[in-house]
C-alpha cells in the first residue's frame, strides 16, 4: 500500500513538472525550475559517490564543468545537441576513470582535499585557456525560448534520480554501500573495493556531465571557467546534506529548498539574504543532521504517534 502511494507520488511530481512550461509563461518560474533541475541532477549524481560510496569528493565541479564545456563547444560549432551531450558524457566518464585510479587510493580527508586541489587546478587552467565569455549568437538569443532547455534539464534530473534508484537496489549499489560502511570488512568478504569506488566515481561523473550539458544548453552566457569553480562543488554537497545524504529524495528536496529559498529571500530581504541563508543552514544541520528527509520522517512519525494515541483514547 505504502509502496503504491510513493510510486504514485513520484508520477504526480513528474506530471506537474512536465505540464509546468505549458501552463506558465513566467520566465521567473521557469528559470527557478530549470536551476532546480540542474542542481538536483548534480546533487543526485554526487550522492552516488558521496552518499552511496561514502567518498566525500570536493571536486565534483570538475565533472560538471567538463560537461558544460564539451557540450557547449561542440554544439555552438554546429554539432547536433544529442551528439555533443553524448560526447561530453563519455569523455567525462573516461576522465573520471583515469584520474579515479590514483585518486581513489586516498581515503577520508586526503581524498576530499585531493579532489578539491585537482578541481581548482582544472578550473584555473580553463580560466587561462578560455578567458572570454561564451554567449549564444544574437539570432539564437532573439529566438530563445525556455521550453527545450527546460525539458533537457528535467530529463537530466529524471535520469539521474532514476539511475540512483536503480543503483540503490542493485548488487553494485550494495557493494558501494558496503564499502562506505566499512571498507576493510567489505574487502575481507570479497568485495572489490577499488572497482566499486571507480564505478561510483565514473557513474557520478557521467551524470554530472549530463547536468553540465543541460546547463550549457540553458545558459545564454557565462564564463567557461565558471561551472568549474568550487562554488558548484560546495552547493552540490550542501543541498545533498541539507536534503538528506544517501537518500533518493534528499538531493531533490535540498535543491528545491535551496533554489527557491534563496530566490525568495533575495527578493524580499535585500541585504540579509546571505546572513539569513547561513543561519538557516546552521539551524538545519544542528537540529536535523539527517537533513530534510529525516525531518520529514520525524514529523511523519510524530503525526502517526498522535493518531495512535487518539485511537487508544477512543477505544480505551
Amino acid at each position: 500500500m505504502r509502496r503504491n502511494v510513493s510510486v504514485a507520488a513520484w508520477f504526480v511530481l513528474l506530471a506537474v513538472c512536465i505540464v509546468l512550461p505549458f501552463s506558465s509563461e513566467d520566465s521567473q518560474v521557469l528559470t527557478i525550475a530549470i536551476q532546480t533541475f540542474i542542481l538536483t541532477a548534480l546533487a543526485s549524481s554526487w550522492n552516488i559517490i558521496g552518499g552511496f560510496a561514502g567518498q566525500i569528493s570536493l571536486g565534483h565541479a570538475a565533472f560538471f564543468g567538463m560537461g558544460t564545456i564539451i557540450t557547449r563547444e561542440l554544439w555552438l560549432s554546429g554539432a547536433p545537441l544529442p551528439l555533443s551531450l553524448a560526447a561530453a558524457i563519455v569523455a567525462t566518464a573516461l576522465f573520471a576513470l583515469i584520474i579515479g585510479v590514483p585518486m581513489l587510493r586516498f581515503r577520508g580527508i586526503y581524498f576530499s582535499i585531493g579532489t578539491l586541489a585537482l578541481a581548482v587546478a582544472i578550473s584555473l587552467t580553463i580560466g587561462n585557456l578560455f578567458p572570454g565569455i561564451t554567449s549564444m549568437p544574437v539570432e539564437a538569443l532573439r529566438a530563445y525560448t525556455f521550453t527545450d532547455p527546460y525539458f533537457l534539464a528535467l530529463g537530466a534530473a529524471v535520469t539521474t534520480v532514476a539511475v540512483a534508484m536503480l543503483l540503490r537496489r542493485s548488487v553494485v549499489g550494495l557493494g558501494m554501500m558496503a564499502v562506505r560502511d566499512d571498507e576493510a570488512a567489505a574487502g575481507a568478504v570479497g568485495v572489490d573495493v577499488l572497482a566499486h569506488k571507480l564505478a561510483a566515481f565514473a557513474i557520478s561523473a557521467a551524470l554530472a556531465a549530463l547536468a553540465g550539458g543541460a546547463f550549457a544548453f540553458f545558459s545564454v552566457s557565462y564564463y567557461p571557467s565558471y561551472p568549474f569553480t568550487a562554488v558548484w562543488s560546495f552547493e552540490t554537497i550542501l543541498v545533498t546534506f541539507v536534503g538528506g545524504i544517501g537518500t533518493i529524495v534528499g538531493p531533490i528536496a535540498g535543491s528545491a529548498f535551496f533554489v527557491i529559498g534563496r530566490d525568495t529571500i533575495a527578493a524580499n530581504f535585500e541585504g540579509f539574504q546571505v546572513i539569513g541563508f547561513g543561519v538557516l543552514f546552521i539551524v538545519v544541520v544542528l537540529l536535523v543532521p539527517g537533513g530534510m528527509v529525516e525531518g520529514a520522517q520525524r514529523i511523519g512519525a510524530w503525526v502517526v504517534k498522535q493518531g495512535q494515541g487518539r485511537k487508544r483514547d477512543v477505544e480505551g
Binding site: I56, P102, R105, F106, R107, I109, Y110, I113, G114, L116, A117, L118, V120, A121, L124, T125, N128, A230, F234, I237, L238, F241, V242, I245, F272, V274, I275, F277, G278, V279, L280, F281, I282, V285, L286, P289
Partner: protein, 291 residues
C-alpha cells in the same frame, strides 16, 4: 639565475605565512576532528582587528599581535560555545560532515557581517619599515616577510612545546588520539575542545595580522586562504604540527619557481599539481604517520 633565487626566497617567505594559517586549522581538525572552513574568516577578522589597532590606536602591527590573539581567541570561545560544541556530540565521520556544513554557513554569516561593519573596501597597513629589506648581493629579503616567517616558526615551536611539555598539552594530545579513552582517564574533554578551538582561532587571528601587513584585508578573502591552509595541512600530513611550516614553505617555493619558469598564469596550477604528485608518492603527506 638571480631571478630564480629571488623568487625562491620570496616563495619560502610567503610559505611561512601559509604554514601559520594551516597551524590553526590543523589544531582544530587534529583535536576536535572538526573541519572549520570558516578558518579563513577568522584570519580575516584578525586582519581587521589589526587594522583598527594600527589605524586607530597607532599600535605597531607586530606589537598588536598578542591583542589580536586574545580577540580572536575570544571569538573562538564564542563560536565553540554557540556552535561547535554541538557538533562534537556526533561520531567522527558525522562530525567532519556536519562541521563542514556548519562552518560553511558560518562563512556566509561572517562575510556578510564583515561587509556590514567594515564595508567591502580593501584595507591595508603600511608601516615605516614596510619597504625595508635586508640585501645580499642584490637579493632582497623584505623585513616584514622575514619577521612573518619568524613569527610563524615561533608560534609553531611554541605550540609544539605546549603539546609536549605541559599537562594540558598532554591532555590535548590524548584527546586527539582517542577521546573516549581520554574521557575515561578523567580528562575534561569539553574543556580541551574549547581551549583547543579557541587557540586555533587565536592562531588564525595572528595570521591575519601578517596578511594585513603583507597583503590586504577585505570581507571576501577568507575562502582563498582556507583553501591554501587545507592544502598545506594535507601536504604536511595529518597529525603533524612540526611539518606544517615546512610544508607551507615548500608550497610557496613551488609557486615561486613555477612563476619564474612557466609564467605568472601557471603559478597556482603548478603548485597544486606538485601537491597532488607528492600525495601520490607519499599518500600520508610529507610528515604524516602511515595508517
Amino acid at each position: 639565475m638571480q631571478l630564480v633565487i629571488q623568487s625562491a626566497i620570496s616563495g619560502l617567505l610567503i610559505g611561512g605565512m601559509y604554514g601559520l594559517i594551516a597551524l590553526g586549522l590543523a589544531l582544530a581538525f587534529g583535536v576536535l576532528k572538526v573541519l572549520n572552513v570558516a578558518h579563513g574568516e577568522l584570519v580575516m577578522l584578525g586582519g581587521y582587528v589589526t587594522f583598527f589597532l594600527v589605524a586607530v590606536v597607532g599600535l605597531d602591527p607586530f606589537l598588536s599581535m598578542p591583542l589580536v590573539f586574545v580577540a580572536t581567541f575570544g571569538v573562538g570561545v564564542l563560536l565553540y560555545l554557540v556552535l561547535f560544541r554541538f557538533v562534537v556530540r556526533f561520531d567522527i565521520d558525522t562530525r567532519i560532515k556536519n562541521s563542514l556544513l556548519i562552518s560553511f554557513g558560518l562563512v556566509l554569516i561572517l562575510q556578510a557581517l564583515a561587509v556590514t561593519f567594515f564595508t567591502a573596501d580593501e584595507r591595508a597597513i603600511i608601516t615605516d619599515y614596510s619597504t625595508a629589506a635586508l640585501t645580499f648581493e642584490s637579493i632582497r629579503v623584505p623585513f616584514i616577510r622575514l619577521a612573518g616567517l619568524l613569527v610563524a616558526v615561533a608560534l609553531s615551536v611554541g605550540l609544539q612545546q605546549l603539546l609536549d611539555r605541559t599537562t594540558f598539552g598532554h591532555a590535548i594530545k590524548a584527546t586527539s588520539e582517542d577521546w573516549a579513552l581520554a574521557s575515561l582517564a578523567g580528562i575534561d574533554i569539553r574543556r580541551v575542545y574549547l581551549v583547543a578551538f579557541a587557540i586555533s582561532a587565536g592562531l588564525a587571528g595572528v595570521a591575519g595580522t601578517l596578511i594585513a601587513l603583507g597583503f590586504s584585508v577585505s570581507p571576501s578573502i577568507g575562502l582563498g586562504w582556507t583553501l591554501k591552509a587545507l592544502i598545506v595541512v594535507v601536504l604536511a600530513g595529518l597529525g603533524s604540527i612540526r611539518g606544517l611550516i615546512v610544508a607551507g614553505m615548500l608550497l610557496g617555493l613551488a609557486e615561486g619557481l613555477a612563476s619564474v619558469w612557466l609564467g605568472g598564469a601557471y603559478r597556482e596550477i603548478v603548485a597544486l599539481g606538485a601537491f597532488l604528485l607528492v600525495l601520490l608518492v607519499r599518500p600520508q603527506g610529507l610528515f604524516g604517520r602511515r595508517e
